[in-house]
């Protein structure tokens, strides 16, 4: 890669990388709950001998 492109490329990724990661993280944090997470505690709760 030539110098001007290399510099542009570097600047581009300095911006793009955090943006992409932020998008992905926010999508995953806002998605409906994983079914596994919902069912596991219930199963444990119901089958707990003390109850």
């Amino acid at each position: 890669m030539q110098r001007p492109q290399r510099i542009l490329h570097r600047k581009l990724w300095l911006i793009l990388a955090p943006v992409i990661i932020a998008v992905l993280v926010s999508a995953l944090l806002n998605r409906p709950e994983w079914p596994v997470m919902k069912t596991l505690p219930n199963v444990e709760f119901n089958s707990h001998p003390a109850r």
């Binding site: 110098r3 001007p4 290399r6 542009l8 990724w13 943006v19 990661i21 992905l24 409906p32």
Partner: protein, 347 residues
């Protein structure tokens, strides 16, 4: 002699590369669709094909985006650069297949124009009202422009720097596709495998690009130091050179390639290929010539000329070795000027 051999060698490599690509894809589709039919018998073949082509496209895109920085970090990956454009066009065709199938399955026959439908309906996807398909569409448009201009004709017409800048659009397409997938399938998928794959992919691609940019930053700060011996500039100790492996450096803003060859000779030529500005310092030394990694143009290291019958010439640089340091004059000689190679002392 070396000329005809070069052509054969080159095409054979490209053909092998394409064969591996096609076999990989056939294997992937067969495996994906067989598994799909067995595990989810309720899914139609169109849906399976749509998902298979989407997955193949996004996997290829990750590979394509990783090759550049990998080759800059470690020379081992350079062969993968040779035919990257075929990968790109294949990826576009897969993405197009996926898009067409998605439009046919979800957007045709609803009374609205299919393209309008892509932007306005989420086609019964319960997960979100987020228009994730519009992002897929935008990415497809960018990928189409890249694929359509991928031919050498455009590279020549637009000139290499413009073409390269235009093709950085693929990074924006990548960002759009991450939105498309993260707000599309990842919202409804019940297994975390997809999410983990995508997170690893994004970390790998971003990490590689950030790292290679960071590790090459010195190339772009002028190597102004050590102005010994008039206009000669100290580039590196001789011990940094490996025989027959070019070393890239930046001399007063010019990219150069320094090469140790014929056991003890050291020459320095421009690092920019006459053909389309390919990075000669990332090339190989073959048949007595520095060979461009992009399309195989060759230059003799002592005078920067191409072997007969070719007529390309690149600038050469005066070079000498003092106290184990490689010194290069910071002004290029006119293209094709013979320069006496510096000699290292062999022990």
């Amino acid at each position: 002699m070396s000329v005809s051999y070069k052509a054969v060698d080159w095409n054979a490599f490209k053909k092998r590369y394409d064969k591996v690509l096609i076999c990989g894809l056939v294997f992937f589709f067969t495996a994906f669709i067989t598994a799909g039919i067995l595990l989810h018998p309720n899914l139609t073949i169109e849906i399976l094909l749509m998902r298979a082509s989407a997955l193949a496209a996004i996997l290829l895109l990750h590979l394509i985006l990783a090759i550049g920085p990998l080759a800059r970090i470690n020379r081992m990956w350079i062969p993968l650069l040779y035919n990257r454009r075929h990968l790109g066009v294949t990826m576009f065709l897969l993405a197009l297949t996926h898009s067409m199938l998605a439009i046919l399955t979800y957007h045709v026959g609803g009374g609205v124009h299919p393209v309008v439908s892509v932007f306005t309906t989420d086609a019964g996807f319960r997960m979100s009202s987020f228009p994730f398909q519009a992002f897929g569409f935008a990415a497809l448009v960018i990928l189409f422009i890249m694929a359509a201009t991928s031919h050498d004709f455009w590279l020549k017409n637009l000139t290499a720097p413009v073409w390269k800048t235009l093709h950085m659009g693929v990074y924006f397409a990548y960002a759009l596709l991450i939105v498309h997938v993260a707000f599309g399938i990842l919202q409804s998928e019940t297994s975390p495998v997809y999410s983990l794959l995508l997170v690893s992919g994004v970390i790998a691609v971003s990490g590689l690009h950030l790292f290679s940019g960071w590790s090459q930053r010195n190339l772009d700060n002028d190597v102004s130091g050590n102005e010994e011996n008039g206009e000669y500039i100290a580039v590196c100790p001789v011990s940094d050179l490996t025989e027959n492996v070019p070393l890239g450096a930046n001399i007063g803003g010019e990219r150069v390639a320094i090469l140790l060859y014929d056991r003890d000779k050291v020459s320095c030529v421009s690092g920019v290929c006459q053909h389309q500005n390919g990075p000669l310092a990332e090339g190989q030394f073959k048949f007595g010539c520095l060979t461009c990694p992009w399309h195989g143009y060759q230059y003799k290291p002592h005078d920067g000329t191409s072997p007969e019958p070719f007529t390309e010439k690149i600038p050469t640089f005066d070079i000498k070795i003092v106290n184990g340091e490689v010194l290069v004059r910071n002004r290029p000689n006119p293209p094709g000027t013979p320069v006496e190679a510096a000699r290292i002392t062999l022990n």
